[in-house]
Symmetry: C2
Subunit: 235 residues, 2 copies
DNA sequence: AGGCGAGCTGATGTATACATCAATAGACCT
DNA sequence: AGGTCTATTGATGTATACATCAGCTCGCCT
């Protein structure tokens, strides 16, 4: 399997990445290398390495002589990133409509079914998860591994902020309808339609920015002063 | 200005990046941290840091216990990356057609003029350089800084391989005609046309892959055995 | 009392020494 | 002679100590 023995730096990187993506570490929060070293029983060197990698992937920023913090993405850049995300998703859909295999199509239908089930059950968390699987199926079906990788990476980078979005329950119904339309387009090999549908599917969430921006600003403000309640040094 | 005092690791990173992009270090070539340390009069720590960053940006790969090497991109992935590059360029064009400012349009026309001059003079190197400026103008004019950054980064990553392309002199004329078409589309705000023109402009180079692939394979083969003639440790 | 400056503090950046482990080459056994 | 096991080697990975430097505080001067 994928080698079970990974370097401390890699493990730490994954752990921090997961913490950031899943909101256990919020944007603006400070990361103390020494504290992290104590927590994971390693020296500052691999901690530093892990942080460097997170900086490279855009999840962390480090200000010399001031400290390292979970990256705070400005609203303007956030919009820009959504714009690119929509394009990448659209491209995945366009390619998938042309290249998808039978197995992949089956997996896509399965993912759609799971989304429908979650929506019917009103389980927003479950829907959020299955929604990811759905989109991931399309990435894979694009048969462009590099594109899929880029899409996943950007999505990860946006994740700390996305979780504020779909909370709106009404959005689930609309999202589901769009999913069906997307699947239909891919099934029939209508590349342009699939692209446009997916692009809009992503952008619609961006257009709900009225509510969204408010949430972000609020989160920005609360995280401005380094919230000590999230201190990871405490056991 | 942009702080003149940068860390050794950053300087080294930039130096190596430049070496790789401009072909002084060829794909597959080994990078010896100790030798680099001696050359730049620093310890292995900042060297390692620089290498880590290059790994993150995809220009270098490191195999544990075997060594670190300039990244070798397989032909299949190379094609995938060109596909994405074309999409990003197209997106830049589409956005630029809607958002470009007068100043930016002037700069774009200027860049086109320089391309024309270089082409008329038959100076391929100059054309290569001005061609970059031209495309960079479009990135900027997209008014999406994140998109522009991603496009530049991907272009950098492809650069070590792109230099094998435009060598064909005949391509300059065709390229120039496409440039004019692109500028015209942007001038008139025809977003879709600008997008399609740019996408094809990039992909055409990919379709010339018949010749291209041969060159890459040749380069791949010659770099397979770690060529000692490129050893940087020698003064 | 308010502003300014020197020293302190705490953060990142760097150097060096050690640990670890896979690839390799050598010798031994068959 | 061929294959296998083992010891060496050389590479990355990690630990620790030191250097450096900006921000902050405390105290002095005006």
């Amino acid at each position: 399997m994928s080698s079970v023995k990974r370097s401390s730096a890699q493990q730490l990187r994954d752990a921090l990445e997961d913490d950031i993506i899943n909101g256990r570490l919020t944007p603006g929060e400070r990361l103390d290398p020494e504290a992290l070293g104590r927590e994971f029983s390693v020296s500052r060197t691999p901690v530093r390495e892990a942080i460097q990698q997170l900086v490279a992937s855009g999840l962390v920023t480090v200000s010399p002589k001031k400290g390292t913090f979970v990256a705070r993405i400005g609203i303007d850049q956030l919009i820009e990133m959504f714009e690119v995300m929509a394009e990448l998703e659209g491209m995945c859909g366009r390619l998938a409509a042309r290249r998808i295999s039978e197995e992949e199509l089956a997996a896509l239908r399965e993912a759609l079914a799971r989304c429908e089930a979650a929506a019917e059950a009103g389980d927003t968390d479950e829907y959020y998860y299955e929604n990811e699987t759905f989109h991931d199926c399309i990435y894979t079906a694009s048969h462009n591994g590099f594109l899929a990788q880029e899409a996943r990476q950007l999505k990860q980078r946006l994740k700390p902020y996305r979780r504020l979005q779909l909370q709106v329950r009404q959005r689930m119904g609309g999202s589901l309808a769009e999913h069906r339309k997307i699947v239909a387009a891919i099934e029939q090999g209508e590349a342009e339609l699939a692209e446009q549908s997916l692009r809009e599917h992503v952008l619609i969430q961006g257009e709900r920015f009225s509510d969204f921006i408010a949430s972000v600003k609020k989160l920005d403000a609360s995280a401005t002063r380094l919230d000590p309640s999230h201190d990871r040094t405490r056991a």
